[in-house]
Amino acid sequence: MRQLITFIRKEFLHVFRDRKTLLMLFGLPIAQIILFGFALSSEIKNSKIAITDYSKDPVTEQLINKIASSNYFDIQHTVQSAEQLQSAFKKGDIRMAIVFPANFSNDLTHTGKATIQVIADASDPNQATTITNYITRLINDFNTQSTLNAGLPLQIVPEMQFLYNPELRGAPNFVPGVMALVLMLVCTMMTSVAIVKEKELGTMEILLVSPFKPIYIIISKLAPNLLISLVNLFIILVLSAVFLDLHVKGSLLLLVFDSTLFILTSLSIGLLLSINARTQQAAMMASLMGMMLPTMLLTGFLFPIENMPLPMQMLSNLVPSRWYFIIVKRVMLKGLGFSAVWKETLILTGMSLLLFTISLRRFKIRLQ
């Protein structure tokens, strides 16, 4: 036991001596949150739009005011003709146009029902979908709030409801993704590099000749990384609560438990990578190329897995972060309990046990 403590102490010394790496380790989650939260936001604000009002009545005026006051839209023009609209689109002056037909007010007062035309620049389909969604919601709000029709809704539009994310914010989707990515990267890279470093230095031979047990070497190498990863998890949760107004809705304990499970899985992968790598660079490359890409692509936070071809979907089942991502979304965003994530938890447990056993055995074999 004393031997183990000596070793773990040494591992922490390594970590704290290397200020640059330490800075990078804790800077990574912060940079990711900023990057995904603000710079790479899928949220679209101040979209330039044009409004053509052929009706010109108090109702359209009210609606236009409502649109103008939203920070999603920035009304550039009030255009009069279809030609003007077309040229504004072509020049890229506007992303979307809203056209109120001449009989808008007439229809509304007589039938309580009217249509408006929404034209969006779909050269960027995601953006187009997003901003048309914004406008649909805005009009829905208007319908229900308006008192023009004696308290009755003005217009029947298909109800668009955005569960868990009513403002279509980007944060709820990427924070779990960032958590998966950061934890996976830190754990695999740190672990594999730490072990390969001992091989490169020649100190591994000394450890093998000593009565120190291989399992202790592994535990000591994993301990600081486990701690760093838990601190990183905490940083991400605090940042997203403070800056992105995204709080843990479910049980924090459950989230930490499943995160620890995911961390252990990633640590085992790092261990496995270190067995075959001969140099620190090779270990680093293997972690980056081998883990970062699959994690980014197959976790489901950048590209929905349902849209992938079947072989890719099957492949994604092997990526631990995919299951962790589901767990975090359910626990953190939807506030669901263990009954909603027991299957994913079980899969992660199985994965970490399997990977740890394999890496432990291979590690021992390599020592011979």
């Binding site: 004393r2 000749v209 009565p211």
Partner: protein, 251 residues
């Protein structure tokens, strides 16, 4: 100097290691006495590393017998590990730890208690005249000091035998000479030194020398006797005469 009367601490009898068809070590039989400096020479690929790994308990022999400090290499590897020290040419110190942290770590993994470690650290620093450098990072030490520290660390747990695998690789002759003073000092205290080297002047410093060629021990005696036996002036020529007949290529 010769310690033929001392009890043997390394005893091997037809120790053999095969990897498939390849016989890395073929029926090695020799003894090393307590406090002896035993040179283990051989060209690259002659089987030195394999033999050393078997003696350290890292590799199971295919056949034959061997006892290290009285412990069997087949069944008592854990006890062997407690009785030996090891140093390789890579020095095996952690550059990002200080001198005293390195000593403390190596003493610690051998299970020494904190008071033991403290007194041992003080003693070592004094012997090496490194007291002022206790809190210096090893990366800032000159090569010669690193090497001496590395040797001292390898015997920090007071083993019966220390295995030195080309401990003076890449070090200048003056530092090498100083390093050998440390080795003599340890041997005087009864530590058995088992050393591999490619420097033939170092072979002269050993009490006895074995020369491995193609997996077998081709010669084993004191440097003086070997030179006489082959009618040559120096160990360099003795080694060359034996090693040039080798059929195996270095790996």
């Amino acid at each position: 100097m010769s310690s033929t009367t001392a009890p043997p601490v390394i005893v091997t009898d037809k120790l053999t290691k095969r990897f498939g068809q390849f016989v890395a070590c073929n029926e090695l039989t020799f003894q090393v006495s307590k406090g002896e400096i035993f040179g283990f020479l051989g060209a690259n690929g002659a089987g030195k590393t394999t033999a050393m790994r078997m003696l350290c308990g890292l590799l199971k022999p295919s056949s034959g017998k061997a006892a290290i400090a009285g412990f069997d290499v087949y069944t008592q590897t854990e006890k062997i590990k407690r009785s030996i020290g090891y140093m390789s040419q890579k020095f095996s110190l952690y550059d990002d730890l200080t001198v005293s942290e390195n000593i403390r770590f190596y003493a610690g993994i051998y299970g020494m208690s904190i008071p033991q470690i403290k007194s041992k650290t003080a003693q070592l620093l004094q012997e090496l005249e490194l007291e002022k450098e206790a809190k210096t990072l090893v990366s800032d030490l000159p090569l010669g000091w690193k090497q001496k520290l590395s040797f001292s660390v390898s015997i920090v747990h007071e083993p019966d035998i220390v295995f030195l695998d080309e401990p003076t690789g890449g070090v200048d002759p003056v530092t090498r000479r100083q390093f050998w003073d440390l080795i003599y000092h340890a041997a005087d205290r009864g530590v058995t030194i088992f050393v591999t080297t490619h420097y033939m002047d170092e072979a002269e410093y050993c009490n006895r020398v074995s020369i491995m060629v193609d997996g077998v021990i081709a010669a084993l005696d004191s440097p003086t006797n070997l030179k006489q036996q082959f009618g040559l002036d120096n160990m360099e020529d003795v080694f060359y005469q034996l090693a040039r007949n080798a059929k195996r290529k270095a790996d």
